[in-house]
């Protein structure tokens, strides 16, 4: 496991507000199905993300990434470091 210090410029995807953009630096977490799925869906370093909206009950969120719409939970979004 590589520990990650979140610096001033960096935030997690969870902290982005609706309409805000960011660039993915890194996806944290153990190797496994969830992380792999996130990467297969295009969540790799350098990808631009835009938070489109949150679901009616606040979670999950919808983002635009690599030209398409993806939904994921805040719990997963928390593992995605962006700047």
């Amino acid at each position: 496991m590589i520990l990650w210090e979140v610096s001033d410029l960096e935030r997690t995807l969870k902290e982005l507000k609706t309409g805000e953009k960011g660039v993915i630096i890194k996806v944290l977490g153990e190797k496994g199905a969830v992380k792999k799925r996130l990467m297969d869906m295009g969540m790799t370093s350098g990808a631009e993300v835009l938070v489109r909206k949150a679901a009616p009950l606040g979670d999950p969120i919808e983002i635009n990434i690599r030209g398409y719409e993806l939904t994921l939970r805040k719990a997963e979004a928390q593992n995605i470091i962006i700047k």
């Binding site: 309409g19 869906m41 295009g42 790799t44 835009l50 679901a55 690599r66 030209g67 719409e69 719990a75």
Partner: protein, 682 residues
């Protein structure tokens, strides 16, 4: 030997649409990821040559993490199709190419079909095909599968590739896709490890890459020794140190870098990511903070009002008049004219026409229901519903994805149980399968339609809606209960693509309606027909095979009377109800056809089979409601049972599911009847 072309691509990119177009078949298409879950084969009709087309489930990657991915990958590797037609959604090239690259890495013959060109044009995007072909080094053919455009060209290209291309050994592109350090490690493995393996490796390049990625399925298949694995680990750790990421991320990153690069060069998008598309505007309403859930309920209510309201019930009157009056009277007069024996007249008119007729009258209504469900599936609403409901479903330990099987369950439990395959987690799948049968399927509809017409004529829609809600409520409580007891586990993740809204095609809607509806007509002509004949005989004769004057003295009467006491505390302890519920295992709508025979037979020869009047003498509104609730919840039909067994792959879990639902059905019906009685209803 026919040539084999396999259709491979991301979920929802139009594979089945293309398959239908090429083969002239009518397979299920829908606007949500995960529609196709099984491999389908068909002969190509558009060309002279003998070509077999294979439709596969959609996948995002060739990683070994989900069932579909393993199925698709195994198919490509083991069956070795002559050409892999990789369908790419032209509006979403960057992500779709992630899979394309993996297919190219695999070294198979790939032809890229760039689909949805109509949508690309409508958006005003420009795609440079020359650049794409130049970078990928495979043919790229633009098509619009839904309109059949470009399909012949695509097939010609694929034939060309199949006939000319030499079997590709390794992929020349690997060096261009991946950075030097990765390529170096791949070469190390290829030169040092692969030759030491016992089994002969078909595709050393790809195998080396997979071993570097740490693909466990490949390790197992090749029985890689611990020594070799340790050696591979050294290469992995070197890279991990260098890039400060784990090995899977390094390789995925590298692939995406390549797709981004190609897309940037070849695709000129007109709109910005932040511009609002039509889908976003629709979503402003559909997934609105306040409106989303009321809108969903209103929509379901609307669907049921139309199905059970004026439109639906007018179809009943029509078919009822046709079957039970016109046809029955006509057949009876024919039989009488021909001097047929009384028992034969009774079998044909009372047993077959009366039994099947009482169920067939509801087929148009079932079709109407399927039509509306088809609209939900084809527009793209399914994925939104999953998005909106995820938060609530998480309380049950499920994810929004489980909501899709549940919605499909309103049509039929069988495809609903099968569609749980898209759920990644085994426990979630199990729980979802256990809950799906509580979603009231189309086959229960005849039961409701009959009983509400008899006892709740003034507020049919409300009563039926309440039954659907009852099913949902039982599913929710069961979810909480099961998750706390026998199905404890982690919370399932939720990562899902939201497709753009699409206007459903007329053809698509008709295929849907027919595909799901024809099953009912078929069932009526086969097993329900057989059951009706058997039921008729059993209620006509006693154990010494003499015709009885009172059906209660018949074989069936004896069986019914033996089990009826079980249902007595629920308010319907007569032998006819017991028998009808037993036959409900054959198919839920058989409950109605059996009732039709048992209550209609006496008067059948007098040409009036008024089942409703007969039921009014046996049931009260309260017992009718308890009976409907029991029919809704108790053991799923035979077909659903078999599907559950297959998908759970365990007798234990299948029996738990069936036992649980029947137990719950008894308790709920008991509470309704006894509670209602105490409150003074009847």
């Amino acid at each position: 030997m026919p040539l084999k072309f396999a259709l491979v691509g991301n979920p929802n990119c139009g594979k089945t649409t293309l398959f239908n177009e090429i083969t002239g078949s009518t397979q299920y298409v829908g606007n949500w990821p995960g529609v196709t879950i099984e491999k389908r084969e068909g002969k190509a009709k558009k060309i002279q040559e003998d070509v077999l087309i294979i439709d596969l489930p959609g996948i995002y990657s060739l990683s070994p993490y989900s069932m579909e991915e393993i199925i698709a990958r195994d198919y490509i590797i083991n069956e070795m199709p002559d050409v892999v037609i990789n369908i790419v959604d032209g509006t979403n090239i960057e992500r779709n190419f992630y899979l394309t690259i993996q297919l190219i890495e695999l070294g198979v013959n790939v032809v890229v079909a760039l689909n949805m060109m109509d949508a690309v044009e409508a958006k005003g995007d420009k795609i440079d095909l020359k650049i794409l072909e130049g970078s990928l080094k495979v043919p790229v053919v633009p098509i619009t599968a839904s309109k059949g455009k470009g399909v012949t060209e695509l097939l010609e290209k694929a034939l060309n590739v199949a006939q000319t291309a030499a079997a590709a050994g390794g992929s020349p592109l690997l060096q261009e896709i991946h950075n030097e350090s990765i390529v170096a490690s791949i070469e190390e493995i290829e030169n040092r490890i692969i030759p030491t393996l016992e089994s002969k490796v078909q595709n050393p390049r790809w195998t080396s890459l997979k071993l570097l990625e740490g693909d466990e399925k490949v390790q197992e298949a090749l029985k890689v020794s611990v020594e070799s694995l340790n050696q591979i680990k050294v290469y992995q750790e070197d890279l991990e140190k260098k890039f400060d990421m784990d090995i899977e991320t390094i390789v995925a990153d590298s692939r995406y870098r390549f797709t981004t690069d190609v897309t940037r060069k070849a695709v000129k998008k007109k709109a910005q990511a932040s511009d609002l598309t039509i889908s976003d505007k629709i979503d402003k309403v559909v997934t609105n903070r306040v409106l989303a859930i009321p809108l969903f309920l209103a929509m379901m209510f609307g669907i049921f009002s139309v199905t059970f309201g004026t439109v639906g019930s007018s179809t009943i009157d029509f078919v009822d008049g046709l079957v039970n009056d016109t046809i029955a009277t006509f057949v009876l007069s024919l039989l009488e004219g021909a001097g047929a024996a009384v028992w034969l007249q009774d079998l044909i008119v009372g047993g077959i026409i009366g039994g099947l007729g009482s169920m067939l009258v509801f087929v148009p209504q079932i079709m109407i229901l399927f039509f509306f469900l088809a609209i939900l599936e084809d527009t793209g609403y399914m994925a939104r519903a999953a998005f909106v409901m995820d938060r609530l479903l998480r309380k049950l330990g499920l994810s929004g994805k489980s909501f899709i099987p549940m919605l499909i369950g309103f049509g039929c439990t069988v495809p609903a149980v099968m569609s749980t395959r898209t759920l990644e987690n085994e426990k979630d799948r199990r729980l979802t399968i256990m809950l799906v049968p509580f979603m009231s399927c189309g086959a229960r509809l005849p039961v409701y339609a009959l009983y509400t017409a008899a006892f709740f004529a003034n507020n049919q829609t409300m009563v039926v809606f309440s039954l659907y809600l009852l099913g949902i409520a039982v599913a929710v409580l069961s979810g909480v209960f099961l998750k706390k007891t026998i199905l404890k586990g982690e919370v399932a993740p939720f990562v899902m693509e939201l497709p753009p809204y699409r206007i459903p095609t007329f053809k698509g809607l008709m295929i849907h309606m027919w595909d799901r509806g024809k099953g009912f007509v078929k069932k009526a002509g086969t097993i329900i027909f057989a059951a009706a004949v058997v039921i008729w005989f059993l209620q006509y004769f006693n154990f010494s095979f003499q015709a009885v004057s009172e059906p209660a003295d018949s074989i069936l009467g004896a069986i019914g009377n033996a089990i009826a006491p079980v249902f007595a505390p629920l308010g319907f302890g007569d032998w006819q109800s017991a028998v009808a519920l037993l036959t409900g295992f054959i198919a839920k709508e058989a409950v109605v056809s059996t009732m039709g025979i048992l209550h209609g037979v006496a008067e059948a020869t007098e040409s009036s089979t008024d089942l409703i009047t007969a039921l009014r003498t046996v049931f009260t509104p309260l017992t009718a409601y308890a009976f409907m609730a029991f029919s809704l919840l108790y053991l799923p039909c035979m077909a659903a049972f078999a599907t559950i067994k297959r998908e759970m792959n365990s007798w234990k879990w299948t029996l738990i599911t069936v036992g649980y639902s029947t137990g719950i059905a008894w308790v709920v019906a008991f509470l309704i009847f006894q509670g209602g009685k105490m409150m003074g209803f009847n």
